[in-house]
Symmetry: C2
DNA sequence: GCCGTTGATGCACACGAGTGCAATTCACCA
DNA sequence: TGGTGAATTGCACTCGTGTGCATCAACGGC
């Protein structure tokens, strides 16, 4: 019953040959038993399964990948885990990959320009594809991936690369929804707090915001754009100081933040340091709808991204391209929705 | 200059043989060039490197793993990405693994009892080890890992498995610190809000809390333990209702929550639904010190876990056991620290 | 009873790399 | 000049698996 035929050798991995020996069949039969669609008689299959069970045999996926020249490893490149938005996208991503028999190899590109190194490392693992949630690959690397038929999908990033698919939220529309919401609340002195390191999504959100503001064209509307010095809560804090430390009649009364996290910082400072009420004196709209956005302290009105949809679409595109590598690039844009809680309300509203 | 010798074949991966051909050396020479410590002349190395560079050669790590019978894949098993504490541990984990040339294979065990399946799957990848941030393996699987010399390290979990290392925070001490802090603030009617699905860490925190409370032994101190119905913000919300919906003189004035997230929910309800001030009427202490704990809205006094330390220690233990598989199990306990912000203060304090 | 067809099985090769061993080169010293 | 040693190099084997091809048995139709 014991598996330790070799006593205490350095490695006890059970191979297909071991199973074959025990089942009294050829190694090929074992291989075929574990290969869906191969030709094996019911009798052999049962013998093999019994032996495999008894020995605790598991197919060596690495060896299989070698012979099939196709691994089921998929690289996931993130840059830091600081963003609270990341887990929301990671969870469905992993589960979707798992559903398709793919395994996520996690890579952290600390700095945005380090994506290059991560992507290069991934090639050593002969990944079946790569999903980028951050950063954009340098063009020659994108070409190398394309030449090697290793599909790349970028989430919420834009880069016009041949053969690289993009899946993202409708950032423009999100910005527009935010503008409409704030204007409807009666806000007239609007501001947009963007993240630093000009991200594409950040710019798009701002553009959508401005555009909608102009379209609605309410009289006496002013607009101001500022860029936070950090992409996180602290960035919202300092942005708030810059935005609110001025005479009351010059202060914005409606602020759209590029991120819920920025909005948290801004709201806290508005309330704490400046004694404003939010909602009430100041209307705030965020972006992402991370879990904390529904916390009572913030009751954040925000633009929700369909993280599950993004992940599913990304994996779908990846798999499609694995099967047909020379597909033209596609850029999917998924709808966003306005989640109205309370932070967008103004006391003076009509 | 083009790599496409075979025009548009299905696969363009460059192999060591290609490099050897181009450099005019044997395949062994190529292999040795990329194997640290192997014997290659400077001249050959340069020829190989030049050819490799020109062709864009990358060692196939999967093939290398096969021949060396030792992969550098390490399984990381999490259960869901819901906990905001997770990113804090994931980030240093990935970076520490990377530093040692190991690559993280991410597995999501949605339900706690699904860890078994994840661990079993990992064996197919011949992982060099596994790190569990959640759930405990069934005993026979732990034995299988041990027999195969695949080290397993559990973070913040306890299970007395032969050959399985454990790295965790000093939860007892954390609970004690919380109790001391609340008592020092003048709280006398204490409560502990635990997570559901009795986790080891949750029980330990409660035990440490009680123990310290008894040791300090202030007169007229009462204690109450309740279990949230969910481990997240919403769990804190419902726990707060159960705890506070009673005559004022029976309400706790100092609450310790097993998690910052629970504490957020509790604070919001205390303020919103019951009109209490926190700090002021109610003192609250959390656990973890996740990024949002420092938000102005909460200014959460909390017990900080050394996530970086946990990750580094976990990887260190993993690597040690990779080199010496039959080491006795070790259980590391890392210190926690009290981070005093404002949520623990009471207006009535002396 | 013979032959063609179908299905199962095993042999042998391949995937891409590391490495022991023997052969070769080269320098250096006596 | 011959011998000794070290340093390099290439051959060939190996890791664990998938799979084309040939073989073989069984079976059914004539």
């Amino acid at each position: 019953m014991t598996v330790d035929d070799t006593a205490n050798g350095p490695s006890h991995w059970v191979t297909a040959a071991d199973v074959a020996r025990r089942a009294g069949v050829s190694r090929s039969a074992v291989s075929r038993t574990f290969t869906p669609g191969a030709s094996v008689s019911q009798e052999t299959r049962e013998k093999v399964m019994a032996a495999a069970e008894a020995l605790g045999y598991r197919v060596n996926i690495l060896a299989r990948s070698m012979i099939q020249r196709q691994s089921n490893l998929v690289g996931i490149v993130v840059s830091g885990f600081a963003s609270p938005f990341l887990p929301g996208i990671l969870a469905p991503l992993v589960s979707e990959l798992d559903r398709r028999g793919l395994a996520p190899l996690l890579m952290d590109a600390r700095r945005a320009d380090n994506v290059e190194e991560s992507l290069r490392d991934l090639l050593s693992y002969r990944v079946a594809g790569a999903i980028l949630t951050s950063g954009t690959p340098p063009i020659e690397l994108a070409e190398e991936y394309s030449r090697l038929h290793v599909p790349v999908v970028m989430i919420n990033r834009i880069g016009d690369f041949e053969g690289v698919d993009t899946v993202g939220s409708d950032n423009r529309r999100g910005g527009a929804l935010a503008a409409e919401c704030l204007l409807a609340s009666g806000a007239r002195r609007l501001a947009y707090v963007n993240r630093p390191t000009g991200t594409h999504s950040g710019r798009e959100r701002g553009a959508g915001f401005c555009e909608a503001m102009a379209l609605v064209g309410a009289a006496g509307v002013s607009f101001e754009l500022i860029e936070a010095d950090r992409p996180d809560y602290e960035g919202g804090v300092t942005a708030a100081r810059r935005l609110l430390d001025r005479p009351a009649n010059l202060r914005p009364d409606g602020v759209f933040c590029s991120t819920d996290e920025l909005a948290f910082g801004l709201m806290d400072v508005a309330r704490g340091a400046f004694g404003l009420t939010v909602p009430g004196d100041l209307a705030v709209v965020g972006f992402d709808d991370i879990p904390m956005a529904r916390a009572g302290a913030y009751a954040m009105t925000t633009i929700r991204q369909d993280t599950t949809g993004l992940a599913q679409r990304a994996v779908a595109r990846l798999v499609e391209r694995m099967e047909a590598p020379s597909l033209p690039s596609r850029a999917d844009v998924l709808p966003v929705t306005l989640v109205e809680r309370r932070s967008h309300l103004l006391a003076s509203a009509g």
